[in-house]
């Protein structure tokens, strides 16, 4: 028997009663009745209470029924799709540490797989003369290049300069202990060119362009713009993906060269004005330390990183589902996945080029 106004003020009082009734019913004949004839009005808390009761009843295999419902209340009932509300809750995800790492890494691998498929399709569309979108796609490459390349010059230069300074300082602090001040130049040149330049540039590109690519394509998907392109006979991969991948594959190594040059210049300023090495000494040391292989390796690495960032961004963007929330997820996902994969690929490069050789 429930009261005339069954609302959030009173529901809690009845919880123990219902539990009691259900417990008895589950021991006994498995049936229970709740008398609602006195109930004139309900609120959502009252409704939630009844649904909870039904859920408990189901768990305990009790057939719970409501009796004596007034028409006004039964109308309220008819608005609620009980089946939808009674789905069993999904098991909470626990798992040990290894599983959690797996949960993190597996989607990354899937993204890599999806990215690879997209890249293959992009290459196909580029080769295939009948693929629509060539004409419209013309010129987009330069737009993308401007956006991803020219637009990033400022921030890449600034961070390059600061990192060059920092690195020179750190190196100097260590080296002067051994009286090896003049190796500051070598340290900076090699670490920047081989590792930090391509890596930092790629991360900056992922943050700037990877996210914007995913957001832009994702928005186009939910606005049906991608469908519209396809409908007009324009292959979205050719029109959207190819220019972006091409632009980043070209812009990233250029930006990496810029980054490294400015970083070395930052180190040089420190070396000349603080360590007192002299311009010529520093420049000579740098050019001696650097080998053509380092520079070539850095260029190749950056090209791969740029391609990676663009492909991951495109594939996440084009697969957006579920409206604006999906776009947000894809944007974050693009940056996180790109950076993760950049590091993984970098490790592979080091293994192949340095350890393997």
């Amino acid at each position: 028997m429930l009261p005339s106004h069954f609302d959030r003020g009173v529901v809690e009082e009845y919880a123990p009663q219902i539990e009691e009734v259900l417990r008895e019913a589950s021991k006994g004949e498995g049936k229970a009745l709740v008398e609602l004839s006195a109930v004139e009005s309900f609120d959502s808390a009252g409704m939630a209470f009844l649904i909870e009761a039904l859920e408990q009843a189901r768990a305990q295999e009790v057939d719970l029924r409501f009796v004596g419902v007034r028409p006004a209340v039964s109308d309220f009932f008819s608005l609620v799709g009980i089946e939808r509300l009674l789905v069993p809750e999904q098991q909470a995800k626990g798992g040990n540490f290894v599983e959690k790492v797996g949960d993190l890494a597996l989607p990354m691998m899937e993204r890599l797989g999806a990215g690879k498929d997209l890249l293959v399709e992009a290459a196909h569309s580029l080769m295939d003369p009948s693929s629509g979108g060539k004409r419209a796609g013309r010129g987009r490459f330069f737009l993308e290049l401007e956006h991803a390349g020219i637009g990033a010059i400022g921030i890449v230069s600034l961070i390059g300069f600061l990192l060059g300074l920092i690195l020179a300082m750190q190196a100097w602090v260590q080296l002067k202990v051994f009286g090896a001040d003049k190796y500051v130049a070598d340290m900076v040149a090699v670490s920047i060119t081989r590792e930090i330049g391509p890596l930092m540039t790629a991360i900056l590109v992922a943050a700037r362009s990877g996210s914007s690519i995913a957001a832009q394509l994702g928005t186009m998907v939910i606005n049906e713009e991608v469908d519209a392109l396809r409908q007009m006979g324009i292959n979205p991969v050719r029109y959207l993906v190819v220019p972006k991948v091409g632009a980043l594959a070209l812009a990233t190594p250029c930006l990496a060269v810029l980054f490294s040059t400015i970083a070395i210049f930052g180190g040089l300023l420190f070396g000349v004005f603080v360590v007192d090495l002299g311009w010529q000494v520093y420049i000579e040391a740098t050019s001696e330390a650097l080998q053509a292989g380092d520079i070539l390796g850095s260029l190749i690495k950056s090209t791969v990183f740029g391609t990676l960032v663009a492909t991951v961004g495109c594939s996440l963007g084009l697969n957006v589902k579920g409206g604006p929330v999906g776009v947000g997820k894809a944007t974050t996902g693009a940056v996180v996945a790109s950076i993760f994969m950049i590091i993984v690929f970098d490790a592979v490069f080091v293994l192949l080029l340095r350890v393997g050789a």
């Binding site: 196909h124 295939d128 693929s131 979108g133 419209a136 713009e225 469908d227 519209a228 007009m232 006979g233």
Partner: protein, 280 residues
């Protein structure tokens, strides 16, 4: 070039039902599953040249999905779609491109590309599918914009258009290539009644003046009865009724009548509800 990742499953007996007549579009036993959920089930339809064919149904019943199947954007899980007498989902790149050139599509939200102006949007299909010089293309695009009364907005960005203007711009893009057939997804949804009537009139005008066949998806009942030559009524993924507006109005079926008068059948409302747990 890979166009569709998958092809619809086609049971043998369906092949015998393929159309050899002059139907512009024929859908046979179309069925769609999204992640195990059935959205469309056994939908059959035939659209004749020159008519305004309306697909009517409540929100979420699968209208857009059906339109995507018919226009070659999404292969159904099962069934056959014939367009201009060709089996749509067996076509390869070139043939498909040729078919696409003969139809236009006006999307539910307009789907104008935000990275370019309204004029460039209308010019895009022309630039892609013809070898005309830009001056000609621009002239045609302006002509098409004028037909929908949007010439004054040619150089605006789509994001600065109102809902009704977006719809008209989308229609203008859909007619850019002088198609024989246009698909409309909810042309009057989200518009005020007066603008909605304007869009309806525009559809009728294009149909009467240029003889363009129209396939219109809508949940707007007055608009559907105003523009349709023939219509089908979808309900929970199945065809509930088909015929001319007059025929449908005369139908005794209670679901049809309830739908026309914008109410859900009462017993149906009950069956899914908490009301099932009432002891009677």
């Amino acid at each position: 070039m890979r166009i569709f990742k998958r092809k619809p499953r086609i049971p043998k007996e369906l092949l015998e039902r393929k159309s050899r007549t002059e139907d512009l579009i024929r859908g046979i036993a179309i069925e769609t599953n999204f992640d195990g959920r059935t959205v469309l089930k056994g939908v059959d339809l035939a659209v004749t040249k020159g008519e305004v064919f309306v697909i009517l149904g409540p929100s979420g019943c699968g209208k857009t999905t059906l339109l995507r199947h018919l226009s070659g954007m999404l292969p159904p899980t099962l069934g056959i779609v014939q367009l201009f007498g060709r089996d749509l989902y067996t076509l390869k790149g070139k043939e498909l491109a040729e078919l696409r050139g003969r139809m236009g599509f006006s999307f539910q939200g307009g789907a104008l590309l935000n990275s370019m102006s309204v004029l460039e949007n209308v010019a895009l299909p022309l630039r892609e599918s013809t070898d005309l010089p830009w001056e000609k293309i621009e002239r045609i695009a302006r002509l098409k914009l004028d037909m929908v009364g949007l010439l004054h907005a040619a150089h605006l960005s789509p994001s600065s258009l109102s809902g009704g203007m977006k719809k008209r711009a989308a229609i203008s893009r859909a007619i850019a290539l002088d198609p024989e057939l246009i698909f409309f997804d909810e042309p009057s949804a989200g518009l005020d009644p007066i603008t909605a009537v304007e869009v309806d009139n525009l559809i009728l005008k294009l149909n009467k003046v240029f003889g363009i066949t129209m396939v219109v998806v809508t949940h707007d009942i007055p608009s559907a009865f105003l523009i349709a030559d023939r219509m089908i009524m979808l309900h929970e993924g199945r065809v509930l009724a088909r015929g001319t507006p007059d025929e449908i109005r005369e139908m005794k079926d209670s679901k049809v009548q309830d739908f026309i008068h914008r109410a859900l059948p009462a017993e149906e409302q009950r069956s899914g509800g908490l009301a099932r747990f009432l002891k009677t």
